[in-house]
């Protein structure tokens, strides 16, 4: 069988490994379409021939679920991520992230790079975290919102913005930034990547793939990219 997986673009590397492993072990073919969760979800609403959807946030999965586009009972929370504060340069000093952090003071006239705070998951989570820590009011005017978390990272990496808020997974491989703190998990809603089987088709490979995602090979692949795999 051949199945099509719609996956959030932030999973690109992990999905490449998983795709190869799954094809080798099961003999099924997999095509992975990588794009923003919103684009993928809209395409599914418009009848895209996707079998599995892995979203970078629960919101779009909720929307599909309420449209009845999910195979009931197949939705799982697959991955978790954490939010970190990053600074430009390889050797920035760590800070204590909490209500007492003078983030506005650190920024001065400069900018804090985030993903879109109303629209893109990393931005929404980041705003929530800053709000819960009581920091949002003071830094809001200094926030530069990128269209996705990778663009926010690039702003810090180039030094255009001295600080930024990104996923822990994004910060790992970038030499020009340093993680100077991790936001407490309680400061924002849980960052969850849900996965589900879509209701349009029913082939054996779908279930096999969902199983494989939660298997040890996939776990290793996800962890190599810095994700936290949600235990059943």
């Amino acid at each position: 069988d051949r199945i099509t997986v719609f996956a959030a673009a932030s999973l690109t590397n992990a999905m490449a490994e998983i795709e190869a492993g799954f094809e080798a072990t099961t003999g099924h073919e997999v095509a992975v379409s990588l794009a923003g969760s919103s684009a993928l979800a809209r395409q599914i609403q418009q009848g895209a021939p996707a079998d599995i959807f892995i979203s970078a946030n629960p919101g779009w999965m909720d929307a599909l679920e309420s449209d009845g586009l999910l195979e009931t009972g197949t939705r799982v929370d697959l991955l978790r991520n954490s939010l970190v504060l990053i600074a430009h340069g390889p050797e920035a000093a760590p800070v204590e992230i909490g209500a007492g952090l003078d983030l506005a003071g650190l920024l001065g006239e400069r900018r804090l790079a985030m993903a879109l705070v109303e629209a893109v998951p990393a931005g929404i989570y980041g705003k929530a975290a800053l709000e819960s820590l009581g920091l949002w009011e003071s830094v809001a005017p200094r926030v530069a919102q990128a269209d996705n978390v990778r663009a926010a990272l690039a702003l810090v990496a180039t030094g255009e913005a001295p600080y930024g808020i990104v996923y822990a997974t994004d910060a790992v491989a970038e030499e020009d930034v340093t993680v100077i703190g991790t936001f407490p998990a309680a400061s924002h809603p849980p960052i969850v990547y849900p996965a589900a089987d879509l209701a349009n088709r029913d082939v054996a490979a779908e279930a096999a793939f969902l199983d494989y995602l939660r298997g040890p090979e996939a776990r290793a692949a996800f962890e190599r990219q810095g994700f936290i795999v949600v235990a059943d």
């Binding site: 095509a31 379409s33 794009a35 418009q46 021939p49 990778r150 790992v172």
Partner: protein
């Protein structure tokens, strides 16, 4: 060459196919639209003009979304067409459609400017020699606007090679089917460490487009030399 993986080569081949088809298939329509806008007056002309420019004005995501709504299998156009076996959604044909739509305004403008520069007295002379309007077009107008047509086609091709927003929104990013070079670049840029692969693809893309550009310049020069003398 082994500095590009097989999936990447697939993206390159697909981009070429999509861009060529987008260009070639929209050319007749582009010439027609340009001619109509340059020479005819009819009710709704400004509407057509606006429609042609729409993809330029709208953010590509919006164009892609509108294409999805219209040409998707559930859409008012895509639905009936899919009954006839013509499917755009999530196929390379859809990528070509998106690229063609996005490139259309550029193509039409270039051709239209050329048409407006043709001396109508030459077309009149041809008519007095017995050429009916279609023949005048084929034997006089078209050869004289060839540089503009080539320019329009190359602009469209270059635009199609770089088109991303509308394509990924409309037909997603499926390897071998709709993952063009820009979509592949996008995916690489979304994860840590993807920059090298992205850079390689950018270079291929730029190389192809520059080759096409040089070719078009050469064609245009040949045509100009023919018209100019000797």
């Amino acid at each position: 060459m082994d500095w590009l993986g097989p999936e990447e080569w697939q993206a390159v081949a697909l981009s070429l196919r999509v861009s060529l088809w987008a260009t070639v298939a929209s050319l007749p329509l582009g010439i027609l639209a340009a001619y109509a806008l340059a020479r005819w007056s009819f009710p709704g002309k400004q509407l057509l003009n606006g429609l042609v420019h729409l993809p330029l004005i709208l953010p590509p995501v919006v164009t892609g979304y509108l294409l999805l709504l219209t040409f998707g299998t559930q859409g008012p156009v895509g639905g009936p067409l899919s009954e006839l076996g013509i499917v755009f959604a999530f196929r390379w044909t859809g990528a070509a459609l998106a690229a063609g739509v996005m490139a259309f305004p550029l193509m039409v403008r270039a051709i239209r400017l050329s048409i407006e520069a043709v001396d109508p007295r030459l077309e009149q002379a041809s008519a007095t020699l017995g050429a009916s309007p279609p023949w005048v077009f084929v034997t006089v107008t078209l050869p004289l606007i060839l540089p503009g047509v080539v320019a329009g086609a190359i602009l469209a091709f270059a635009k199609a090679m770089g088109e991303f927003g509308a394509t990924i929104t409309f037909v997603s990013n499926i390897p071998g089917e709709t993952r063009t070079i820009p979509s592949a670049i996008y995916a690489f840029l979304q994860v840590p460490g993807g920059e090298d692969a992205a850079t390689r693809l950018v270079l291929v893309s730029v190389g192809v487009a520059m080759g096409a550009l040089l070719l078009s310049e050469w064609i245009a020069r040949r045509v100009a030399a023919r018209v100019g003398g000797a």
